[in-house]
Amino acid sequence: MDNHQILDEDEILFRPIYQTGKGFYVLAAALLTVFMFGVVMYIRQLIFGLGVTGMNEPVTWGFYIISFVFFIGISHAGTLISAILRLSKAEWRRPITRMAEVITGIVLLIGGLHPIIDLGRPDRILNIFERGRLQSPLLWDLTSITAYFTASTIYLYLPLIPDIALLRDRGGRFNKLYTILSWGYEGTERQKHVLERAINILMIMVIPIAISVHTVISWIFSMTLQPGWHSTIFGPYFVVGAIFSGIAALIIVMIAFRKTFHFDDYLKKIHFNYLGTLLLVMSLLWFYFTFAEYLTTFYGHEPPEMRVFLYKFTGGYSPFFWLMVFCNFIVPVVFLSNKKLKTIPGILVASIAVVIGMWLERLIIVVPSLANPRLPFPTGIYIPSLTEISLLAAAIAAFILGFMVFSKLFPLISIWEIKVGREESVRIVSERLNEYLPSKGHIRKQIV
């Protein structure tokens, strides 16, 4: 069966799998080069030790831990959109869920590798399993990230099954792969029912797991005695920050693919409007948490805390701190609350600012506390080396490459959910509305 002859009404969603332009190969080659350079730098680090980085005493954690927290944070894109919107039966989620779930899968892999890159002895990683201490927040971290990765991979795979079945039925390349992965899905009533139940179970499970992941990551910092870290706000603060950066990353990915693959009919202005509003809400929430944390620190005025506080506000790290506030608060609020600026390019600008700002936020959390030890040792200086910068570039390249590989195998927009939406959503939503609205009023007879 020649796949060009069967034209589905959603043909444009299938096209990226079957057609590959020259731009794809050029970009893939460039990204692969960046990625391989990162791998080479890492091998160099394995040979010479962590001394090839900019880390030292007292700043014993740097780019690797910052990127670790950052990438795991972005994984909340998948949970928020996919799980929470599905749970709240929001119909506008349909073209977005697939990309969101893929983001989660890829960044969890990249982010999860970063603590291993940061280890002085990665060859001894099995010690964590053989002699692990559950009292250590790093073990809680390992547990929750593994649970989240498992759950979100299954949560990506289940709604992918009907789409794989569609691809299998079209014939063409990778047919063997699709046949195996589609698990014999034929779209029968019983299969649809089972699939929907499975998705529903996971959709509810994924939310507490996701919240636990970023809470536990924040507890790596807040369980220590370091000034600037030992604060109870870290749990909720990191979750809010994660959802914030996740939405921004999702918007960027959506706009990129919309442009490249001409998904304009599926990813409409209204989708970006809604996501833009969510981004604005998260920005305000982020600002609220940040303000609360620093006001408390400042008002209490404890000397070790103030040393870290002033380092961030007026000292060596002030350019990064105020840039972070600008990127995370000023730019989103300006662009997203103003109707004239809330265009798709405007929303893109706000999202890019947020992604940069959230990476800076992790920098502001990790380095200043370490650079200002409690005892009057000299303030630490951290200058990232080429190794760390190239590994950050390699991580970003891996993220984009992961998406590119995915786009060649599976549809980036959930085709069957779009079809279901087209056929059944109007009816489902009207029925739902009738449940909310009061019944037809009786005509009151006027008593004369």
């Binding site: 010479f48 001394g51 007292p58 002085g120 002895r121 220590t224 009057p376």
Partner: protein, 229 residues
């Protein structure tokens, strides 16, 4: 079970740094190259901490405190280690298991005294240094955290000697390198639970203080200092 502790008399300490040198030689601590030391990677198990500056320029007299691992009774570092590469022994010494450390540096992040140090890389050592390595102490590979262990290898040697001589371990059998070498006799070491030991008497001295007591780490290195009136 003895509880080993240390008392450092700051009124006797001349800041000659003999203790720092002895510690480094006794424990095969790496001599880091100049470039790496400038980057903040010098490795010292015992350091001098600037605690006070007396007088005005140009006659400033810094008071420095010899700082080593304070061997806390409630160590924050052992709490967070994911693989039990650092742990507190029954005799009170907080020990390191170098082959078990995965180099995550979480213990370093949680130590409020910045007492731990990390092998960021292995610099080329002078052959003369390598020739006089202490054979009782392992040379740590890169990627592993290390810190003062109250010269625990000396304790092990002393225990074995006492056992082979069929007698009990005495106070004079075991002394860390820093305490042994101090020319001003400012460093006292012994069993804090033994009412006959010198350290037991000194920790009841009115001049006694510990660093950052309010954190509840219960350090077992005490300092004695009285300001000259």
């Amino acid at each position: 079970m003895p509880k080993y502790g240390m008392v450092i008399d700051l009124n006797k300490c001349t800041q000659c740094e003999a203790c720092i040198t002895a510690c480094k030689l006794e424990n095969n601590v790496q001599i880091v190259s100049k470039e790496n030391a400038a980057l903040g990677r010098a490795m010292f198990w015992m350091k001098l901490l600037d605690s006070n500056f007396e007088g005005a320029y140009p006659d400033i007299r810094p008071t420095k405190i010899p700082m080593l691992c304070l061997q806390c009774d409630e160590p924050p570092c052992t709490k967070v280690c994911p693989v039990r590469a650092t742990y507190k022994r029954d005799d009170g010494i907080v020990a390191q298991i170098y082959p078990q450390c995965i180099g995550c540096r979480y213990c370093m992040a949680n130590c409020p005294y910045s007492a731990k140090t990390f092998n960021w890389l292995k610099d080329e050592q002078q052959i003369e240094n390598e020739k006089c390595y202490n054979t009782d102490v392992s040379v740590r590979p890169k990627g592993v955290v290390e810190k003062c262990t109250f010269c625990i290898h000396r304790l092990q040697a002393a225990r074995e000697k006492a056992k082979s001589e069929h007698r009990k371990l005495q106070e004079s059998d075991y002394i860390p390198a820093c305490a042994e070498v101090c020319a001003a006799h400012a460093i006292y070491f012994g069993d804090l639970d033994d009412p006959h030991s010198q350290v037991f008497k000194l920790i009841n001295d009115y001049r006694k203080f510990t660093l950052q007591e309010e954190l509840g780490t219960k350090p077992k290195v005490y300092y004695l200092s009285a300001k000259a009136e």
